[in-house]
């Protein structure tokens, strides 16, 4: 009796184990079967409706969730294709994507893959965009990710620019103008002058350069882009390098020193200063310069009711020769990738959806509002003045500072080291440590990939 029960139980446990493993092959065999059926019904177009397929988008930007849900509903009402948009909780995109991709037929058909790290991790799941309608709609291929084999693995759907945002009204109050600032030396002169007169003026030069999690990426990522960009430009780098030389680290130090020494917040206090704080300082008119990007436009004009007329964005100057010819830093980490392991009709449905988003009225309007200018032919104008500035620089023939930091190996770990070093430097430590974290850190992380 006892033995019988024990046997049954062992069998049950074994069954549970096998049931779960065999479930996946079953799902996999179902998909091709459905696909051939769909392909068969696809051919006679007139009398049978094409296999519907579905779209499942795993979105990473919580702020854009509401807009995506509305757009999805509109598309479904229009075409009958079910579109599900799920937003991962902030900071958990990798985790959520991993769990969701495991679901076989119910996995996301559309997801984010924005840099080399993502490319490596998900390379088996990236559908080639070459030849698709949405790919043909792009105005520039600069913002796409390609595999070594030449396949277009992910397409950029918006680009952003960052630089130093300036409150021109306050600048004028301090007796200066934008025309004065054309390179690092002039930026430094203006900033130091404002800082020296801060009490009299009632505002300071730079906002706090906080190093907490909500703000440090501006410096370990965006500001660090400057030395990386110039070094890669000099050396003609077009793929992820194993090591970097740190040629422009002195320039990096120049601009960082400028930020931290000309602000109302003391350098030693930066560890816990947040992004919200810096934004509030700028929004409330307590500082003239605020390093950030085009995405700040809606907050500044909305929450803080700043006037678009008083806002401008200038390039980040750091003392490199010829930088008066620099434009803003433009690029993106927002790229769409389609799940190559999804059912063919789902892939087709997803591509159709994307094409609709970038060509239709509703889609382009939503994209312009949520993401700014998109590199597609039917893009709508945006009211974001920062993009006007970016375009102005391009029109004047100035060079675009591309996002060299997209090449960073083990980007989060590398940035963590740089942030630690910069925070400690600001609190009185040595700059050599920052150079070590920057340069040696790159080599170490590259090797650890």
């Amino acid at each position: 009796m006892k033995k019988l029960f024990a046997l049954i139980l062992v069998a049950m446990m074994a069954f549970a184990s096998f049931a779960c493993t065999t479930a996946t092959p079953a799902a996999a065999t179902e998909a091709p079967a459905a696909a051939t059926a769909a392909a068969a019904t696809d051919v006679p177009v007139a009398d049978t409706p094409a296999a519907v397929g579905k779209v499942y988008y795993l979105n990473f930007k919580p702020e854009a969730d509401a807009a995506w849900q509305t757009l999805a509903a509109q598309y479904t009402a229009l075409t009958g294709v079910p579109v599900t948009v799920v937003t991962a909780a902030s900071g958990t995109y990798s985790e959520t994507l991993t769990a969701e991709m495991d679901k076989g037929a119910a996995a996301p058909t559309l997801f984010q893959c924005g840099n080399k790290a993502g490319l490596d991790t998900w390379s088996d799941f990236l559908y080639d965009f070459t030849g698709t309608d949405v790919y043909a709609q792009q105005t520039t291929k600069d913002f796409n990710l390609t595999k070594d084999t030449g396949e277009v693995a992910a397409i950029g759907y918006c680009y952003e620019c960052f630089g130093i945002i300036v409150n021109t009204a306050l600048l004028a109050q301090a007796g200066h103008s934008l025309a004065e600032i054309t390179d690092f030396a002039s930026l430094k002169a203006v900033a130091e002058d404002i800082h020296a007169n801060a009490t009299k003026l009632g505002f300071d030069a730079f906002t706090s350069s906080g190093m907490d999690g909500s703000s440090s990426w501006r410096f370990s990522g965006h500001l660090a882009n400057m030395p990386l960009f110039y070094e890669f430009r000099d050396d003609g780098v077009t793929a992820q390098p194993a090591t970097i030389t740190g040629k422009y680290m002195d320039n990096f130090k120049n601009i960082w020193d400028l930020y931290i020494n000309n602000s109302a917040t003391a350098p030693s206090q930066l560890a816990s200063a947040t992004g919200d704080q810096a934004e509030a300082e700028f929004g409330q008119g307590k500082a003239v310069f605020y390093q950030n990007g085009s995405w700040e436009f809606s907050n500044l004009t909305g929450k803080f009711a700043m006037s678009a007329d008083n806002l401008a964005m200038i390039p980040i100057y750091c003392g490199v020769a010829g930088e008066s010819n620099a434009g803003l830093c433009a690029g993106t980490e927002n790229m769409w990738a389609v799940n190559s392991k999804a059912a063919p009709e789902d892939i087709a449905a997803t591509l159709a959806f994307l094409n609709w988003v970038v060509t239709s009225d509703e889609g382009t309007k939503m994209m312009a509002e949520q993401f700014g200018p998109i590199p597609f032919k039917a893009a709508k104008e945006t009211s974001n003045v920062f993009f006007n500035d970016a375009n102005k620089y391009i029109a004047e023939g100035k060079y675009v500072v591309t996002w060299a930091f997209n090449y960073t190996p083990n980007v989060d770990t590398w940035r963590a080291g740089v942030v630690a070093a910069m925070t400690q430097y600001s609190a009185g430590g040595s700059w050599d440590d920052v150079v070590t974290a920057f340069v040696q850190g790159w080599a170490t992380q590259y090797a650890a990939q």
Binding site: K2, F5, A6, L9, A19, C20, A23, T24, F60, K61, P62, E63, D65, A66, Q69, T84, V86, T87, A89, S90, G91, T92, E95, T96, T98, A99, E100, D102, K103, A106, D212, G213, S214, S215, W217, T274, G275, D276, Q277, A280
Partner: protein, 280 residues
């Protein structure tokens, strides 16, 4: 005698102070749920002033985040917590009784597996668990209790079995002689005797499940269901930006029912934990 009384009064006074300090964090949360974000950062312990008082703004923001009605998250949390805890208590107490009365090799193996399961880190099994739940369609709030039973059985079985070891067999034997089958014996006689442990295990399980974030986040069908901890997590915008005021507001809302429940039942709960703990 008088020295004794003075000493006791001093102790009472001492503990009053300690208790006030002990509850400061909770009180600070309550206060900060009515302040603006930047003032929470800069002046954490100050009372809301006219300038920093935000009324119910934080509560409204918190409840409305993510286009998902908070009341739905709250109801799912409640459903999952209550049904999982009930399922765990009933099933594991029965199993612990089986294990302690039928001391077979198999029962002992199950017991030791349970003990071992108490030390497994969730990270080790989280993706596999999510996939399994998805495959077996256990990813709804109505079926997730099975997952909780599976993952939480260890501690419960351990504590019940320990307690049961100390219960004399005579009563059960008497019941058996009177013709009671095992089911009646268990539910009419043993189960009531387990009240103290039921309460202490129940409290542990309820606290764990109500506050749990990672397991429901990975297991539940993301397109349809959220629980309170998940809802709070969505207050984190991109780039590490956290709406602290709304977080504080949601914390108050999520703690409130537990505190109310606890305050009303505390004598009962503490008594139960006291009686049940040591024998386990």
């Amino acid at each position: 005698m008088k020295r004794e009384r003075i000493r006791k009064s001093i102790l009472t006074g001492f503990f009053i102070v300690i208790c006030i300090i002990y509850l400061m964090p909770v009180f600070t949360v309550l206060m900060n749920s009515f302040k603006t974000n930047s003032s929470i950062n800069t002046d954490t312990f100050a009372f809301p002033t006219a300038e920093t008082f935000t009324g119910t703004d934080n509560y409204v923001n918190g409840i409305n985040v993510g286009e998902y009605p908070f009341i739905k998250s709250a109801l799912y949390s409640l459903l999952i917590t209550v049904s999982s805890a009930a399922l765990i208590l009933v099933c594991t107490s029965m199993s612990a009784w089986y294990i302690s009365r039928v001391n077979s090799l198999f029962a002992r193996i199950v017991y030791y597996l349970c003990v071992f399961s108490m030390v497994v880190p969730f990270q080790m099994v989280m993706f596999t668990l999510a996939k399994t739940a998805n495959t077996l369609h256990l990813d709804t709030p109505y079926t997730i209790p099975i997952i909780y039973l599976g993952f939480g059985a260890g501690l419960a079985v351990f504590m019940f079995a320990g307690f049961l070891k100390g219960i004399p067999l005579e009563i059960e034997e008497a019941a058996a002689i009177d013709g009671c089958g095992p089911i009646r014996t268990f539910f009419l006689i043993v189960f009531p005797m387990l009240k103290p442990v039921l309460i202490s295990v129940g409290v542990l399980e309820i606290m764990w499940i109500w506050n749990d974030y990672l397991l429901p986040y990975l297991v539940l069908d993301r397109t349809k269901y959220k629980t309170i901890p998940i809802h709070i997590q969505y207050l984190q915008g991109s780039y590490g930006h956290v709406d602290l005021g709304a977080v504080m507001a949601l914390i108050v809302i999520s703690i409130a029912p537990i505190v109310v429940f606890y305050l009303s039942a505390q004598k009962y709960i503490i008594k139960g934990v006291v009686e049940g703990a040591v024998k386990g």
